[in-house]
Amino acid sequence: MPEADPVCREEEDLVGSLASMSSNERIKAIQKMPKTMRKKREIRNKVLKERTKKSRHRGAQWTQGAPGVSFRRFGNALSEFFQQLRPWHKSLKIIGAEFGTSVLSYFVFLKWLLNFNIFSFLINFGFITIPQFLAAEPNNLSFTGLELLTGAGYFQQTVLYYGFYTNATISKVENGPSYNMQLAYIFTVGIYFVICFLILLFSMARFFSSNFRLTKAFSVNASKLLCTWDFNITNEEAVKLQQKNLLTQIKEDLTEVNKEVVNFSVMERFVHIATHLLAWVVSLATAVAACAGVYFLSINNLKLFMKGYSNDLQRQSAMLVLPVIVSLLNTLVPFLFSWLGHLEKFQTPGQHIYVTIVRNIILKISIVGILCYYWLNIVATSESQCWETLVGQDIYRLVLVDFIFCLLGSFFGEFLRRIIGTTVCVSLGLPEFDIGRNVLDLIYAQTLTWIGILFSPLLPGIQMIAFLIVFFVKKVSLMRNCQPPREVWRTAQMTTSFIFLLFCPSFLGVLSVTGVTVWRLKPSEECGPFRGLPSMYAAVDEWIQTLERYTVSKWVVWIYHNLIASELFFFIISTVVLIVTYLYWQIIQARKTMIKLLHNQIINAGQDKKFLLQKLQREQRAKRRSSSALGGRGQQRSSSSYHPSMQPAQEVPGYPERAFDRNQNTSHNEHPFSVEISSSSDFSPGKQLR
């Protein structure tokens, strides 16, 4: 059959090209093909036959595909094993079905953060705590229930805190293999942070690459119509609500006065700017005041602690004052910020959300910053017996009280608000789930946990349990009390920003705090794995010195001296990285210009087409007039002679027509332009790039 020939030939080419790829690429290419499943399976079988033919040709050679394929199978089996956590899948599906992708992104983020804590807990427990159990000293303190809240007392002499760990080299068998606790401690924490850094970096890069747009042109209406319908939502009420929201947005867009055209008078603009400035001043002043309050309170606390307490109850309550005040500040000041945001008249609701989130970030960063300053500068140099354990206890209390306030916030913010909104003050309605605030709370909690890893190795385990409970409580509260969001929440953009926030102030800050602690601070003399050393890092130095004695490990020593401990190496690497970044920046600029040029080229091509068609119409009309004068003989010939020239014009650029072989009844309108010639349609001019 002559028509099937080009089809068959194309298919053979496809099979040939697929057969020559590596198996991973081949699988990816097959998965991406927009053909029916039956066709894909046929092609896959043909490709496999082709490959076995080729490998038989080459004799009993080791087929390149085998290890790649088995690796992928292994990866699949592994992911199936982890998918045993079906409870996640079902909860996420239910949440997405009723509330959409925006609220779902909070729970997905929470689940992702949980993985960091699980990983940290496992390696800390495995490498640090279990060996410590073998060399444990007996615990003489008594256990009262209050320790769970304050972390002090009985817990002080347990594996929970840094102070309990021994600095000895543990060995169970005489002259057997020994386990150096100092190295284990520092390397476990160090390797964990390096792995976290890499994971965060790659996630951030992946999100940026899929969500960052080079060109600014953003077609609001078109994308609202065609790209924003949330297919996740399967609940009838939620679908109706989403349709109603879209309707409201479209109506608002249609009837609004063009905001950019309205010119404010000089006076109004001045008032506008003054309000913004005032609001910012108030927010920053609040943040500074909060910091000062926290700082003086902590110094006071430390003084009282060193002096000793009159009775036990006073001691316990004094320890809890600081975390409670910090959590209160974190909970109540954001209300002030959103009230300020309502006072200022922002141009778009997006700006309002953005500014409120920035202010909350500033508040949280300053509080964490001042606490770190207090811990590293004041507590570390105080004359307490074991300052690392003190810091660990502080962080434990902060984490715990923050967790309790999170649950309380859910109770008051959502449950009581719903009761108020449905019975007492019906105009308020149901509360909405505040995604921004909740995500910032998660980032804050995770930052505290990361800071605390060095001082309290099992803290991630506690945070893990806390996150699990928070997930459950938030989900139940969401389903019972909240309504789906009304405002547009740009999920992809916000998720990228949150991961960036997790990396940039949060994780990098933690790295600097840990770095300062390990390099600069003097560990306490009487407790912990690093007692007696001038700094925690000195343990690594000593280890390298012991390695120098053996010739086998001289290369490790060489690497250490010339690569890790040498400044020249880092200087060279930084210069190289900066140069590469600059080159990539230039490439991006060039691509932006290229995009603009290509866009203009498409518009020009469209206008050329329009011009040529109009010319064609004129010629046809002229010919028809002249041929009708001649008696209609030339008409047939003229109309048919123009068709070949139409072929290139109507080819859809770059789109595989074969993709539509699904619907056999597609009315392939082969010559759309020829039809419209006779009806002399009007083409709208192409849009100029703004």
Binding site: R73, S223, T228, V239, R662
Partner: protein
Amino acid sequence: MGNKQTIFTDEQLDAYQDCTFFTRKEILRLHGRYYEMAPNVVPMDYTKDPDVKLPMQLIINMPELKENPFKERIVSSFSEDGEGSLSFNDFVDMFSVLSEMAPRELKAIYAFKIYDFNTDNFICKADLEKTLNKLTREELTAEEITLVCEKVIEEADMDGDGKLGFADFENMISKAPDFLSTFHIRI
């Protein structure tokens, strides 16, 4: 590993794994869902690749699709015979493209098909009007609909032919980063 299942041969499961974004367990679970829609018609034993199709009426009553305004278009875009009945192959294909691992380009191709109501490879004004009606439950007046559709074509049509070709659509999708997460159905 685990129990020996007799629904598919190993070779079939490998083929499905290679052609979709699902793992073996998910494919077996999908078969379970396909089966429970019509237990009398769908065989438990798929080793011989039986030619069984379920009509559109059954598929659009699935809880994942029931409330979706575009359910008929989704099912007909994946139907091999063009009439909306899905074989198991098409069923798996549909949820594979709508899963979160499918790449943007593949989703864009099928989203284009879904919104192309008259299947002429272009999203013309009539298609946009139908889409708008489905999205807003037909509560806009006729002139509001025309206004919005004109705006959409004006914004997205680059080559000036009055309708959106696939290139225009893909260009628009590439500027909407939320598309990947919203064009997603969990099964």
